[in-house]
Symmetry: none
Subunit: 412 residues, 2 copies
């Protein structure tokens, strides 16, 4: 059973909002073992929205449209379905009555007539009551294809998706097959290095299947299995996951939604420690990443950003500030910020992101981590432009912190 998502809205084409609805629906479909081959985005334009519907009907078993079912003139999803299918537009007196009472119950006075557009629907469609708003969803079977419309407002879309759309799709699909994915997050190996280590798994394994995904400084390995239920899918994934972990070793630092900042916070909680940061070249971004997650204030005391080298002396008591990109400075920054902020872990970054090199070539970065157990530093050379180097430096600092917090550290 192939399901296609069409998001309707010019604001999506213009990049004014990100199409998070498509991701939400895609993840929900995958959880139910429903396949998706295409997603489309189309603007608030009748002919083009109708063309998108026709393309989806041609190649998919079911279509979920999100957006364009509100009361205004540029809400054209209902009309697009009529144009694509040749169905007549009908009007539901019953839903119009429901709309009026909804309006009155919320003390909003007389309902503007424009809202009555929402009682229109392609002939034969079922109106799906939307308790979170006035725009009803639609469910329709047309020549063997299921067509659904849900609102574009995420909370309303999600409610109708789970309450109405997915149960109908699963009933319609008839087969209880489930797709379950496991994401292993790795650091320290290149994408091609990971691919080579797993090459035979990738080519030979169809169910579960293995795929790679590269993102800033991290390579993710996805293992996906189809089975009758989650337990059976898990049984298929387990031996492959074990083999992948065996081959990649310590490169695997987390799974699924365990970001490196999440892992570091969890390790701090485990140890009962708090962290403080002294960062120059990353200019605050490292502390920013560490404080991204709600609840981080329990483990992250804060940081100092001695972007001007002289502040390394005045704020952190670092001695020689004429040469600041070296292991001595990184170690002094880490131990000193630990004391200054009265925490158990001090983390430091010093270096040059370019383009103007300091005493070392641009891209030279030295990290320091100081815990109650040890203080170590590591010098790294990174390439790329300023922005990339700063982002990779933040990721590397967090990964080195993970190694320190697990007591594994790294070669001296």
């Amino acid at each position: 059973m192939i399901v296609e998502v069409i998001a309707v809205g010019t604001e999506l084409l213009l990049g004014q909002i990100v199409n998070s609805n498509a991701a939400t629906i895609g993840a929900a479909l995958a959880e139910k073992g429903l396949d998706a081959h295409f997603q489309q985005v189309v603007g608030d334009n009748l002919d083009r929205a109708a063309a998108a519907v026709r393309a989806a009907i041609d190649r998919s078993d079911a279509v979920i449209m999100t957006g364009g079912i509100g009361p205004t003139r540029d809400d054209l999803t209902r009309e697009a379905i009529c144009q694509a299918t040749g169905l007549e537009m009908e009007f539901s007196d019953e839903y119009a009555e429901y709309l009026r009472s909804w309006w009155v119950a919320r003390g909003r006075g007389e309902m503007p007539d424009s809202n009555l557009r929402q009682a229109q629907h392609p002939a034969g469609a079922e109106l799906l009551v939307n308790p979170k708003g006035t725009a009803p969803g639609l469910a329709l079977e047309h020549q063997g294809t299921l067509i659904f419309c849900v609102p574009g407002v995420p909370a309303e879309m999600e409610h109708l998706l789970h309450a109405e759309v997915l149960p109908r799709l699963v009933r319609w699909g008839g087969k209880d097959e489930m797709l379950v994915s496991r994401l292993l997050r790795t650091w320290g190996r290149s994408e091609s290095g990971v691919a080579e280590l797993l090459d035979d798994l990738y080519t030979s394994s169809v169910n579960p299947s293995v795929a790679y995904l590269a993102s800033a400084g991290e390579i993710k390995v996805r293992i996906s299995a189809k089975a009758a239920d989650a337990t059976a899918a898990g049984r298929l994934i387990e031996p492959v996951e074990e083999e992948v972990r065996r081959r990649l070793g310590d490169s695997v630092f987390g799974a699924d939604d365990e970001t490196i900042e999440r892992i570091v916070l969890d390790l701090l909680e485990e140890r009962g420690w708090r962290i403080g940061v002294a960062e120059s070249m990353t200019g605050g971004l490292l502390t920013g990443r560490l404080t991204d997650l709600p609840g981080s204030s329990r483990f992250v005391a804060g940081g100092v950003v001695p972007y001007d080298s002289r502040l390394k002396q005045s704020l952190l008591g670092v001695g020689d500030i004429t040469h600041v990109v070296n292991e001595e400075t990184a170690a002094a920054m880490a131990t000193s910020v630990k004391e200054l902020l009265d925490v158990e872990v001090g983390l430091s970054v010093t270096g040059s992101a370019g383009p103007d090199p300091l005493e070392k070539p641009a891209g030279t970065i030295v990290f320091g981590v100081s815990t109650p157990e040890d203080t170590r530093t590591r010098e790294v050379r990174m390439v790329g432009d300023r922005e990339r180097i700063r982002i990779y430096a933040v990721t590397t600092a967090l990964q080195l912190t993970r190694l320190a917090l697990t007591g594994k550290w790294w070669g001296v």
Copy 2:
């Protein structure tokens, strides 16, 4: 000129990542006045990716594909173009050589052979060097349609988009006539507020045309003119720009690529001042934004991040730390960081990004700016999730700094 975006990757269909690339590209196209009617997402599947390319070629003048050009076997974008267009796959010895030297220069030892896939390209395609990674972009003209491939990694995609793709699209679009856009960046008015002030310009003016674009905390007004050459286009834009600036007044803070952080650095240079930051809820992101640009170290001394309130006392000497989200604390943080870092301008942010409210509701943020001329504060209530509130807070802090540096300040 109609441009279509195709994002390639099964992880997008499965909702494991959100398609932010499509939004980034959509916004960049809109800024250049290039139209987009459709976006597509397709998985790592050769036949379906080829079908997506054919559909895009049929209805659009240019296609930008993002993702699927890495070294692994599921990177099929190059093959999909060959299948859709009938072009042969060729191999670039020159690029293979470049890849090998890239690898060696980074001290990564012998390059895995799988990387050589990246030297393959449809016949006639130009390889676009990607300084941030090994996967080159592609540019190709096929029977009157321009086809581009860029990586899926956002930083690499954005670099190639701006450095290679957009300039070619603008040149191509201007075969007979040239499209020139002027972007006025505004802050402090809502999108509907800006729209109301410019309503008649928006409805009456066809060449140049006027459009609005909303992005994180900023409303951009785009004036686009078509003419035989840049000078003629500029003559069309000039009177409209003058009128827009007259109506919007001080809301216009910059034009084209003048980001607010660029403007603030320029104002600091003009005044001969340096800035220091004390930020709690933004956790380092504000200092991070200020140090994004090369050369910022001349004007940005650094900052302190007293994420734990007690550090507001120990590092900044703020008196009452049981109530920290108020104007007294913001003022004390701004003046104190100014002294601590020995600079002319102190900037502070204190507040709660949620979800756990401190003494004020989540989303309450207080800013402080202290210059040699004055110290003022401003309390703001922001809505949305934690991430959105932190980003808006950074933008607002920079905008208030701009007002302070121009001596205009704001109502007490």
